[in-house]
């Protein structure tokens, strides 16, 4: 066996059991120096568990890990780093209250001074074209900048193996291109790169080998360049996925459901984004997709539309079918026919420690007051009516659960999201505002949820879908607008938008320049 073929890292029969769940089951996997190796799989397929064991954040229940041909145990991330394994996390493991240099220093040997760390970070950031200010507070940085910290932090150790977990999910297409160049450079230096993603086009572009996981097991190892996106997807999911397309709407004919004019909102805390002069219409039958990088004002935009904000918008009007909503609270807006699905399921769209029936009541106690409450002013809860509504939603959305009325927290992400969506759809709302509808949801549930959004629009309602996932935006939106730094671009027909144009708008460039780029 030549030196080039030597395996850098190999696992044999690696297994991790959580309670009754086999998160990793007899996983055999290997990676060689100088290769970009994809780890493919749905949410919950076991990718993160595998990677956490390689990086020492989790300990295997069984099986062995070999590093450069020798069996090893990786008791902690610091041991992994000293062995030469570096990791770039999906949900950044960064500390907002600390500076960039302090963040990097935390993963270094204790005798290295923070000032030396800052110096070295500057050098690396020049060397790899990743601009970064070591003295900046992380809390003030954008998502893209934060990822650069993670990459530099990882490179400080001069690792032989770099693990990246869903690195592009938070980037604009342009930022992703820059990242790929960095990755190619690292590969050419002889480092191995383990690239975890569910974005098949990227994997095909970057990787020479792919390990595909499903339900905790390795189902296939292949060369992604010799496959099509469809065949890869089929192996990931274990079935063909249906293609969802919105029915075309003619906007001239369709009545306006929601009309927002000059909406501005002052930030209510130091970390919030101000909304500035937002104008748009949503018509009956359309899905308006709102693209944007995380933290550009999506949460505030959602709150302003839903009426959850404590202070009223500083200006502008929100009209739903001719009713001005701007002075109304969320319950009153619901009564006028609006429905809302927030980004966070746990502790926002649902209370984790409460049963599904209670979570039904959570969003519908006012809109369904007549059937859900009795006793006049006493507000006595009518359990039977709530239970039948819950059963109806669970059946319609195919919510899989272990008990008749389980705690919301015991449902998988996909099933809970289906329940939350179903709770709102069941009311047949004239307007649905949804933030990140399929975030962290398995492909099957994501398909179901997207289909239900398209169906709702087709029935004559209007849907506003805020999403960071451009694939999702392009697959079901009829028109697309981009939110950046609290301003919203002019909604444009989806067919006339390119990914590049949206990407430019996401970084806050003006729409004329986006048109030129398109």
């Amino acid at each position: 066996m030549s030196a080039d073929d030597a395996k850098l890292l190999e696992t044999k029969g690696l297994t991790k059991v959580f309670g009754t769940l086999r998160a990793n089951d007899q996983v055999d996997f290997d990676i060689r120096p100088g290769e970009i190796h994809a780890l493919l799989g749905e949410n919950g397929a076991g990718k993160s568990t595998l990677v956490k064991m390689l990086f020492g954040s989790l300990q295997p229940t069984g099986g062995i890990i070999e590093w450069r041909g020798e069996p090893v145990t990786v008791p902690s991330p610091s041991v992994a780093r000293s062995m030469g394994i570096g990791m770039v996390f999906q949900h950044f493991s960064l500390f907002e209250a600390l500076t960039v240099a302090e963040n990097i220093a935390l993963s270094m040997e204790p005798d290295v001074k923070t000032s030396q760390v800052a110096e070295r970070a500057r050098e690396l950031s020049k060397q790899y074209g990743l601009p970064l200010d070591p003295d900046a507070l992380v809390g003030d940085l954008s998502v893209g900048e934060r990822q650069r910290i993670e990459i530099i932090r990882c490179l400080m150790q001069d690792p032989s193996l770099v693990i990246l977990d869903e690195p592009t999910s938070v980037l604009t297409p342009q930022e992703a291109d820059t990242l790929f160049e960095t990755l190619f450079r690292l590969r050419d230096e002889g480092r191995a790169i383990l690239y975890i993603s569910h974005r098949l086009e990227e994997v095909q572009r970057l990787c020479s080998r792919a390990t595909i996981m499903r339900h905790g097991k390795v189902v296939d190892i292949c060369d992604p360049r010799e496959e099509t996106a469809a065949t890869l997807a089929a192996r990931m999911v274990g079935a063909e996925l249906q293609d969802i397309r919105p029915a075309p709407v003619s906007l001239e004919a369709a009545p306006v459901i929601l009309s927002v004019r000059g909406l501005s909102l002052a930030p209510d805390n130091p970390f919030a984004v101000a909304l500035k002069n937002i104008n748009f219409d949503v018509h009956s039958g359309e899905v308006l997709g709102i693209a944007g990088i995380a933290g550009e004002g999506q949460g505030e935009f959602f709150s302003a539309l839903s009426g959850e904000v404590e202070q009223l918008p500083t200006g502008g009007t929100i009209e739903l079918r001719g009713n001005d909503l701007s002075a109304l609270n969320i319950s009153e807006r619901r009564k006028k026919g609006a429905a809302f699905v927030p980004e966070e399921r746990h502790g926002h769209g649902a209370v984790t420690g409460m049963r599904l029936t209670d979570n039904m009541l959570l969003a519908r106690h006012k809109s369904d007051q007549d059937s859900f409450q009795s006793g006049g002013g006493l507000g006595v809860i009518v359990r039977s009516a709530i239970r039948s509504a819950t059963d109806r939603v669970n059946a319609a959305m195919d919510v899989r659960k272990g008990a008749p009325d389980p705690n919301a927290g015991s449902l998988s992400g996909g099933n809970l999201q289906k329940f939350i969506m179903g709770r709102e759809l069941d009311r047949q709302p004239a307007l649905l505002v949804v933030n990140q509808p399929t975030w962290g949801v398995d492909a099957g549930a994501a398909g179901h949820i997207r289909q239900s959004l398209v169906d709702l629009a087709a029935s004559g309602s209007a849907v506003i879908m805020i999403s960071q996932d451009l694939d999702e935006i392009f697959s079901i939106a009829t028109r697309i607008a981009v939110i950046a730094k609290g301003t919203l671009s002019e909604p444009t027909d989806a067919a006339k938008m390119s990914r590049e144009a949206v990407g430019l708008l996401m970084t806050g460039q003006t729409s004329d320049r986006a048109e030129v780029a398109a």
Partner: protein, 358 residues
């Protein structure tokens, strides 16, 4: 050896009921150790503390007298804690409630009608609610930490009542002792039966426990409390206001503490004096947790806490054990309640380190 916790998918119904009993059992075990350390016979000690007071009517009645304020305050705190607001200044609200209620007979000497007592009870509740509203408003208006402000107000209330009974409200015929003149009969909470010490405050506590239990478990208000208690953000999504809830919860718990105060003043003592602050407001925190924040549970828990008070008095007389041992018992009980509550949400496993690394 190490302890591992595994989160349960659903709260364990078994341990939801069993945890207070486990805590009591652990407290008694700790009691055995404490008696041994003190050189006393543990069997006699436990008997004196937890059994003997239940055997004679006089002690039983004293238990009911003490359980009344503990239950009233504990029920209010249960509402407050459930809503996610930390009122630990119930002692202050209890004192101010007592003072507000006492103001009527003090300012209307010679008036003795049946209206007096109900008016005093309402005044007591009003006083407690107003005093409870202070930390609530400081929190909602300015964001000041309610734990610290409500506690600081206890010290202020103690000084205020001390001043009242020593200076402006002091009984001129009281031979210089601090305290108001004794209330007329119309200002005294009637006793449960002739020559009894237990008074109708206990009936109020039972009735209120049932009402609050119904509100918490069956109505929208209870649902709102539960939602805001688990997540302010989900509460906002439901259209509930966390700010209004803070004020509501503090006013309710303050009103109940104030009611306990005026019940104690008008039912047990018959006047306002400098010995009203007995720490019931703090012991009621234990009542609330031992009762698992359930108003009916709080009734039972108040009885248990009152039992330790009377048992402690008996143990002091019979065995020469310091009455401070009672507070140690109460403190331990709260510790064990909190520890046992872990079993509701988690499976606890004790793993030997050797087995783990294998």
């Amino acid at each position: 050896m190490r302890i591992e916790l595994i989160k349960r998918a659903d709260a364990s119904p078994l341990f939801s009921i069993a945890s207070p009993f486990i805590a009591l059992l652990l407290t008694m075990i700790a009691g055995v150790i404490m008696f041994l350390l003190l050189g006393k016979d543990p069997a006699t000690g436990l008997y004196t503390y937890f059994v003997q007071p239940l055997l004679d009517t006089w002690s039983l009645e004293q238990i009911l007298v003490k359980a009344t304020p503990l239950a009233l305050i504990g029920i209010g705190l249960a509402v407050c804690f459930r809503s996610g607001n930390w009122n630990i200044g119930a002692e202050g609200q209890y004192l101010i409630g007592g003072a507000f209620g006492a103001a009527l007979p003090v300012f209307l000497p010679g008036v003795d009608t049946w209206v007096l007592l109900p008016a005093m009870v309402l005044m007591g509740m009003l006083g407690g609610a107003l005093y409870g509203a202070i930390p609530a408003l400081l929190k909602t208006r300015f964001g000041a930490n309610e734990i610290l402000t409500s506690l600081m107000l206890v010290y202020v209330a103690q000084q205020l009542v001390d001043w009242l009974v020593r200076v402006p409200w002091r009984d001129p015929k009281g031979m210089g002792f601090p305290g108001t003149p004794s209330f007329p009969s119309g200002a005294q909470m009637p006793k449960l039966w002739q020559y009894a010490d237990a008074h109708y405050g206990l009936v109020l506590a039972v009735v209120l426990a049932i009402i609050v239990w119904f509100v918490l478990s069956r109505t929208m208000k209870g649902f709102e409390i539960a939602v805001l208690g688990s997540s302010a953000r989900a509460g906002r999504f439901a259209g509930f206001s966390a700010r209004r809830m803070t004020i509501f919860a503090f006013c309710v718990s303050g009103a109940l503490a104030g009611l306990a105060g005026i019940a104690e003043v008008s039912g047990t003592v018959g006047k306002l004096d400098d010995k009203l602050s007995l720490g019931y407001g703090f012991s009621a925190i234990i009542v609330a947790f031992l009762g698992r924040l359930n108003p009916l549970g709080c009734l039972a828990a108040a009885f248990v806490l009152a039992l330790t008070y009377i048992g402690g008095e008996n143990a002091q007389i019979a065995m020469g054990i310091s009455d401070r041992a009672t507070r140690v018992f109460q403190g331990l009980l709260l510790f064990f309640v909190l520890a046992s509550d872990t079993l509701i949400q988690y499976q606890v496993r004790i793993v030997s380190t050797a087995a783990r690394s294998a």
